[in-house]
């Protein structure tokens, strides 16, 4: 297990923020596939500046909930509010443009592109991304491109990937690709960051750095929600833990409270 240590004052500031207005709210969200119900009426608020960990056994509906929030999975009932607006049923790319960014469970990188290009894709509001601007010539987008490149390089050096900037992404290891995907999500300047098992395949020291990074993001006002099986990361990075079993929230509180939760223990141990 990774032994992640963070400054105690950091955790204190995080806990205080909980009363703030929610950046993201789900209201009685239900997700069904065919006849099966994956998420059964989840109502949660995620404040800006918080890190929320979602835990629970396989099939608890964690990934479905995250998919529903990001608009990738259609919801059968309920509503989702983001930044004060009802965004239920919005196409996922609109939500992403508004700052709701999700990184997937299996590293989904753009394999035939370089690591740096992978990050640059995510830069929001690129002028040169519009066909009319691109056709008129690079002088219209070069300045913005340069500053984006600088930001991307500094993100890459945070995770020791700067020397791989021009490497084709499919040549990286699984763990490195996972980091590229995380950094790419940061590059998109998220207001809400949804992470599905970010620690899979990461070396222990990188999990530690990830935990620090998530805390720093929250301090800057980002709302982070992560699904995680690596309890060390949950314990150190999140100031609130939500436990899900069979599509429902069974416990919601601090890591210590959740750890004591009998409902969750039972679900993990299988003695229903």
């Amino acid at each position: 297990m990774s032994n992640v240590q963070l400054g105690s004052q950091h955790r204190a500031t995080l806990t205080k923020d909980q009363s703030g207005s929610a950046a993201l709210e789900t209201d009685n969200v239900v997700v069904r596939y065919g006849g099966q119900t994956a998420v059964e009426g989840v109502t949660l608020g995620f404040p800006a500046g918080s890190v929320t960990g979602i835990i629970g056994p396989n099939g608890a509906g964690k990934s479905s909930l995250l998919g529903a929030i990001s608009g990738m999975i259609p919801i059968s009932q309920g509503s989702i509010r983001f930044d004060g607006k009802d965004v239920t049923g919005e196409p996922p790319f609109r939500l992403a443009r508004a700052g709701l960014i999700k990184a997937s469970q299996h590293a989904q990188v753009f394999g035939r592109m370089s690591v740096l290009d992978n990050l640059l894709v995510a830069e929001p509001n690129q002028r040169g991304e519009r066909f009319a601007v691109a056709a008129r010539g690079p002088h219209l987008w070069k300045a913005q491109e340069r500053s984006a490149e600088e930001r991307a390089m500094s993100l890459l050096s945070d995770f020791d990937l700067a020397h791989h900037a021009k490497t084709r992404c499919s040549l990286l290891s699984g763990g490195q690709q996972k980091i590229v995907e995380y950094l790419r999500a940061l590059m998109a300047r998220p207001k809400v960051l949804l992470l599905d098992e970010p620690s899979v395949g990461l070396a222990v020291h990188l999990v530690k750095r990830l935990a620090e990074d998530l805390a720093r993001l929250a301090e800057d006002g980002c709302c982070v929600v992560l699904i995680e099986h690596e309890m060390g990361l949950i314990r150190e990075a999140s100031n609130r833990v939500v436990g899900m079993v069979s599509g429902k929230v069974v416990v919601d509180g601090t890591f210590e409270e959740v750890e004591q939760s009998e409902a969750l223990q039972r679900a993990y141990l299988g003695a229903e």
Binding site: M1, N3, P57, N58, G59, S173, G174, E197, V200, G201, H229, M231, G232, R235, E259, Q265, Y268, L269, G270, A271, E272
Partner: protein, 246 residues
């Protein structure tokens, strides 16, 4: 005659290693549960044994024969049965056809009696013998999956999360079947999510965490260990490592 499956310093995965340096052995008449939190790579171990995942290092022996990387159908002919987690029955085939395929390697005259035996063991399947497998309920389908694997009279049975997607009472039922199967002198290796429930029926257990085996012992001590420390308790497995890891 006693059967044994032996894993020696096995590292398995796909492109990358998921479970490192795993060693255990199991012999006839006993059941061994492989447990751990989600994503620990438990299922990959079974897949590597039957040649569907990659063995990066180490060897697998069956009755002293090195069977590392053998194809599934060769292993089946040697007496290794396998029930996958999801695609555990042929969906477009009837129950009877599924069982017949399970007994593909049997001499023709033994197929009928083997089917009778399986239907005897799982009476619910009897009335549904002409039903297509994908029309069965979850519990029936899992019974069909196990019954199909038993058709070939395997001396060792590998079960991958047999209770996933099953209601609790059905799960209990399926797990109880495990002890019935071992009492016939077979060996069962079961990968399971429902830790406590499986530890009550299994003889021994191997706890996997962070891609490495943390504990291998009799089921009762593993259960006690988990009950006192929790499945995802901090640092604890490493304290135990020196003592109870075989």
């Amino acid at each position: 005659m006693s059967i044994s499956l032996q894993l020696e310093n096995l590292s398995v995965g796909y492109r990358e290693v998921i479970v490192h340096d795993l060693s255990f052995s199991a012999s006839s008449g006993e059941s061994l549960a492989v447990i751990g939190v989600n994503g620990a790579g438990k299922s990959t171990i079974l897949k590597a044994i039957i040649g569907e995942a990659r063995v990066h290092a180490g060897r697998v022996y069956f009755n002293g024969t090195d069977i590392t990387g053998y194809a599934g159908n060769v292993l089946a002919s040697m007496g290794v049965g396998y029930v996958p987690q999801v695609r555990d029955a042929f969906p477009g085939l009837t129950v009877l056809e599924n069982l017949r395929m399970g007994g593909y390697l049997l001499p023709r005259r033994e197929v009928a009696s083997a089917i009778a035996e399986v239907l005897d063991r799982f009476p619910q399947l009897g009335p549904k013998r002409y039903t297509l497998a994908h029309q069965l309920s979850g519990g029936e389908r899992k019974q069909l999956g196990i019954g199909r694997a038993l058709m070939s009279k395997p001396s060792i049975l590998l079960l991958d999360e047999p209770t996933s997607n099953l209601a609790p009472n059905l799960a209990e039922e399926v797990l109880r079947d495990i002890s019935r199967i071992t009492s016939d002198g077979r060996c069962v290796i079961v990968v399971e999510q429902r830790v406590e429930a499986v530890l009550r029926v299994a003889d021994r257990a191997c706890l996997i965490s962070n891609g490495t085996p943390q504990m291998l012992s009799d089921a009762r001590s593993v259960l006690e260990f988990i009950q006192t420390h929790g499945l995802f308790g901090q640092d604890k497995p490493s304290q135990v490592r020196s003592g109870s890891l075989l």
